[in-house]
Amino acid sequence: AARMFLRLLSDIQWRAAHPKWRRMTGSQRSTSTTAEPHPVSLPAQAQVVICGGGIMGTSVAYHLSKMGFKDIVLLEQGRLAAGTTRFCAGIVSTARPVSIELKMAHYSNKLYQQLEQETGVQTGYMKTGSISLAQTQDRLISLKRIASSLNVMGIPCEIISPKKVLQLHPLINIHDLVGAMYVPEDALVSSANVSLALATAASRNGVQIHERTSVSHVTIQKGRVTGVETDRGRIQCEYFVNCAGQWAYELGHSGEEPVHIPVHACEHFYLLTHPLQEPLSSSLPTIVDPDGRIYIRNWQGGILSGGFEKNPKPLFTEGRNQLEIQNLQEDWDHYGPLLSALLRRMPGLEALQIMQLVNCPESFTPDMRCIMGESPTARGYFVLAGMNSAGISYGGGAGKYLAEWIVNGYPSENVWPLDLKRFGTLQSSRTFLRHRVMEVMPLMYDLKVPRWDFQTGRQLRTSPLYDRLDAQGARWMEKHGFERVKYFVPPGSDLLDLDHSKTFYKPDWFDIVGSEVKCCKEAVCVIDMSSFTKFEISSTGDQALENLQYLFSNDLDVPVGHVVHTGMLNEKGGYENDCSIARLSKRSFFMISPTDQQVHCWAWLKNRLPDDSNLVLEDVTWKYTALNLIGPRAVDVLSELSYAPMTAEHFPSLFCKEMSVGYANGIRVMSITHTGEPGFVLYIPIEYALHVYNEVMNMGQKYGIRNAGYYALRSLRIEKFFAFWGQDLDAFTTPMECGREFQVKLDKGMEFLGQEVLLEQKQNGVYKRFTMFILEDHDTDMDLWPWWGEPIFRNGRYVGKTTSSAYSYTLERHVCLGFVHHFDEKTGEELVVTTDFINQGEYEIDIAGQRFQAKAKLYPFSSLFAQRRRKDEVELSGYQRE
């Protein structure tokens, strides 16, 4: 039955075109399934080998060949576009909450639109528009947020009334709707044909396409891809691209050195019907009803409707199972709730005849974002997979970015949210993936509110204090598998349960975090920050210093015991990482960076440090528990516990010393708090963690010590205008653009990565500027809260987006951080952003379509800094992370 359907969804006409690759494989494509000979043998070598002939593989091939790469081989185990791509519903939708995904979808749409003209292959492209329905006010808010970001990108989009919905789509029952979002330029395509069109164009550009060729494994030597073993022989290659879709995980694990690609397949169902009595117009907009968990598009006069059910069926957990693939059956009972939702949305379809229920496995990732980029362990091994059911929307853009990555060494946009290196081996457990994707798939259509945490795959990495903190009311969130405290619920206070605390407005923990912040300001708080990535770099001679001086922008040749905040910049001066480095001795350094840097930073350093056995890089993350003592009384607590004077004269800011705390010796104490508040971070060998924690809490009692969590930390750092990597800072942001010139030592006497660009920026100015905004007419109790990604308007014109925001309990205002650009009013060209440009504007922040006045500042409020500890090293230079 599935076979019959294949021909239905994909227009057969592509075969009438003249794809060159067909001649190359020598296959006579016919509807019969006779074995095809392979008259053309595989080349012995190629520059790039792409595995997978779906939308991803063909898109990468298409873009690579356009960018001038000629020596490309694409291998497909079956036939082109025969996997998930063929079953894909073919909806190209730009309504995506994550900005980079939105950009990819927007590009894809533009690409597909002209593809038929370019290649002569009919793609079935039809601009129908899409309507996302809201059954609740909260849903409408989330749609309005998306609408805001679409609008500033120049993508037409409007929030419409239920009545207007009915005008656009006469079959819809609008009685339970509160509104909708209309994106008129969203489109429908035949995804298989798009893929074939891309293949055709790639083939004309010289890409060799071989069907019925499976990759058994990729060979890796000395951390570099050297070739590909297939069932038809070996191909030597420089680059390998894993576009194997739901088999990407297995392919990654097939070689001797595994490449961990955390994807897991789930069954996905959609319904096809016969045409209506009066066939539906092919230009009728696609309907997305996320509250009903369904989408509905017109299809050959009838409809195609699928959805993301609450109880997904994961499959292939144990790996590939041919039997299972063939037996993927229509499961009507499973589809039942979605059918109810469909008939509720379009009651007039009751009499419509069913053609088929299609079961099409889709692959999902642990965080609902797709996976692209280079393996941290094997250079030249690229991945593009895990599309979370949006492969056709992302296909064009994702292929483009990956091709740029291969050709230029870096894509043209910040793709960190999608980077393979955001994951490590810890997300590679099949059990973890199975459980997590069961949560992720329904999430596709769940309401996404700020500060949302995954519930599955938790309690994997924990601090030794986990149970202690949990017993004291800790509420947890997770970063890179590590449990971190959000805040502590005081005994006796009752928070709303999870479902009810989902809000776009003031959250129920507002006062709890407020009191933690107050304690940080007035007494002392302790925050467990053990999740931070911790590396040690040491050498026998000066190798460590020399190499670090090249890789980091600040001057690390400081006296032993000093801590330096510095960026780890790329060639373009952008932040690959932002860290604190303590010089432990002449020849060894202790490096602290954000939690999710563990894989990325390791790979970055490994790839750039010389292969020298006298230079040792070690990941010591697991060896230390970190306790952050924040507040004016931290100094008192610590000096009582250590019998050592801790005042500024003896222990200045940005200092690091090994000392004893309680009975425990060898505690690395650093006078930084990552918040701009006075205090210390204690790096404690884990076996002492509980002891030191108990000592600190006991001794701290008389100073009013209490536990605090990351939400308090976040509020403190944002009100002090501290940027943090991964949210505010990325590979496309330089220190010059975020007011951190003082962390760059252009004159440190030696060359460092990114230096040229920074010099150039110093002379000519920057094109974006990190700015702090204080919301003026925003009512914390009544208005929607900012989150991140809100458009910033200067004198009524769009100038950029926020990157993070928090309520400042001290200023009693919301603070948003974000980047301001200067677009030329006529040409849209980016101009230099000057201090005057920032200071002389009237600003507004758009939260879900509502604009709030904001005051822009390039420097934090000095009144917020309780005390200056060392004049030359104001900690507002502090790097931040969450």
Partner: protein, 454 residues
């Protein structure tokens, strides 16, 4: 007036009983995992009985349902006694000797059966001595007859059935000096009972059936669906072979009068049964016993009544038909039930409902649209109904209770309809029997791992 769901549940669950075969060392080495049983009365008092016991001196487990008629006395006696007869028939010569010697010398007896009884399943204390003596006579005869051959289960079952029925008959003819017992044995003999008994020993499953109760095996097909295999033949007018047999046993002149209105001699539904001496004894014997019997018996019109066209007794036998089945891993459970269940449900539905209940997987036959013309609305209706069917499963902890819920409460779509269930259960006593029969069910669950390892 309707019963609330909790009221319905308390009625349905009043007689439910579950037994799990205990594990040793974390493993269940028995081919039986355990069983669920339950009964729902329509008659007052109920005329059905059930028994379950583990044979202690031989291997294996015995389970049986007994559907009484003309009172419950016979079914009660059979439910107490039959398993002892079977167990004794299965015992090797040495064990029989050992037991006899123990009785002879007043030593403690080896226990023969371990019963698995619901508190409502009672044994008659007064008759135990009488029953014991009859049983002892039986094993003494077995000792005397010692053939030296190993006991065949089939033969043992047939012998036990026949012997018990014979003893019931004899006890009634001889009478007892104790007037209570005397009346009891007569009531046992003049009432009747069917019996459907399963003996499970490893992969060997024997079902001995007398009458119209039924044993059915639940088999899980490769695709996960459920099918039913009959392990007994009904002894009633619908069974051609049975009608043939009866006709063969009597002169051609009686051919017309033997089976009338689908009943034996126009009176009795089951064609085989325990007791029912009115269909077994000669007219003279019946008259003699009734006349010399107690007044209560004499006053009973039923016992005095001689069936019409009664020329060449016996017309009825307790001899069972025995079916042997080698258990396979796909044989997941056995249902033994009185005709009260089978009248209301097709065995295929029974297999599916129990199968889905036991596996927790509601493998309803997957719906495939195929080439049929199905509208979205029709499909929606169908799916809603299937969901309702699944949701009814979770109320029950006992497979037999679950089956009864369906048997009594099913609507035309095969889903439990609470309204209907409530109505059926709140019928007044005198009406209940018109709408439903007593239902007794035992669901035996097999251990596929153990069976697969044989």
């Amino acid at each position: 007036f309707y019963l609330t769901p909790p009221q319905v549940n308390s009625i349905l669950k009043a007689n439910e009983y579950s037994f799990k075969v205990p594990e040793f060392d974390g493993k269940n080495v028995s081919s039986v995992l355990g069983f669920d049983s339950n009964q729902l009365p329509a008659n007052a008092p109920i005329e059905d009985r059930r028994s379950a016991a583990t044979c202690l001196q031989t291997r294996g487990m015995l389970l049986g349902v007994f559907d009484g008629h003309a009172g419950c006395a016979c079914a009660q006696a059979v439910s107490e006694r039959l398993f002892y007869y079977i167990a004794v028939s299965l015992l090797p010569h040495e064990t029989l000797l050992e037991i006899e010697n123990a009785v002879e010398s007043g030593r403690a007896l080896l226990p023969i059966l371990q019963w698995h009884k619901h508190p409502n399943d009672y044994f008659s204390k007064e008759a135990s001595k009488l029953y014991f003596n009859s049983l002892r006579t039986y094993w003494q005869e077995l000792i005397d007859l010692n053939s030296g051959e190993t006991t065949d289960v089939r033969e043992a079952l047939i012998n036990a059935f026949k012997r018990l029925d014979n003893d019931i008959s004899l006890e009634a003819q001889v009478g007892d000096p104790n007037s209570f017992l005397n009346y009891l044995v007569l009531r046992v003999a003049f009432s009747g009972s069917t019996a459907c008994v399963a003996h499970v020993d490893g992969v060997d499953l024997h079902v001995a059936n007398t009458g119209d109760s039924r044993a059915m095996l639940g088999v899980q097909e490769e695709d996960g669906s459920w099918s039913a295999v009959n392990l007994s033949y009904d002894h009633n007018a619908q069974n051609e072979h049975e009608v043939e047999r009866v006709k063969m046993e009597h002169p051609k002149s009686e051919e017309k009068s033997l089976v009338k209105q689908d009943r034996l001699l126009g009176l009795l539904m089951p064609f085989r049964a325990f007791g029912d001496v009115k269909f077994k004894w000669s007219i003279e014997l019946q008259k003699r016993v009734v006349e010399s019997g107690p007044d209560q018996l004499n006053d009973n019109e039923y016992t005095k009544f001689i069936p019409p066209n009664y020329y060449t007794p016996p017309y009825l036998t307790a001899e069972p038909e025995v079916i042997h089945h080698k258990l396979r891993p796909q044989d997941k459970f056995l249902v033994l039930a009185t005709d009260g269940l089978w009248e209301t449900m097709h065995r295929q539905d029974v297999a599916r409902i129990v199968g889905e209940y036991l596996t927790g997987v509601h493998h309803q036959q997957p719906i495939a649209v195929g080439g049929y013309k199905v509208t979205l609305g029709q499909m929606h209706g169908l799916l809603t109904e299937r969901r309702a069917r699944i949701s009814s499963v979770f109320e029950d902890q006992n497979a037999a209770t679950h089956l009864i819920r369906h048997a009594v409460g099913n609507n035309e779509f095969g889903t439990v309809d609470h309204e209907r269930l409530s109505k059926m259960l709140s019928l007044p006593e005198e009406l209940a029997r018109m709408y439903r029969d007593d239902i007794t069910i035992i669901v035996v669950q097999f251990n596929s791992h153990v069976i697969g390892a044989y």
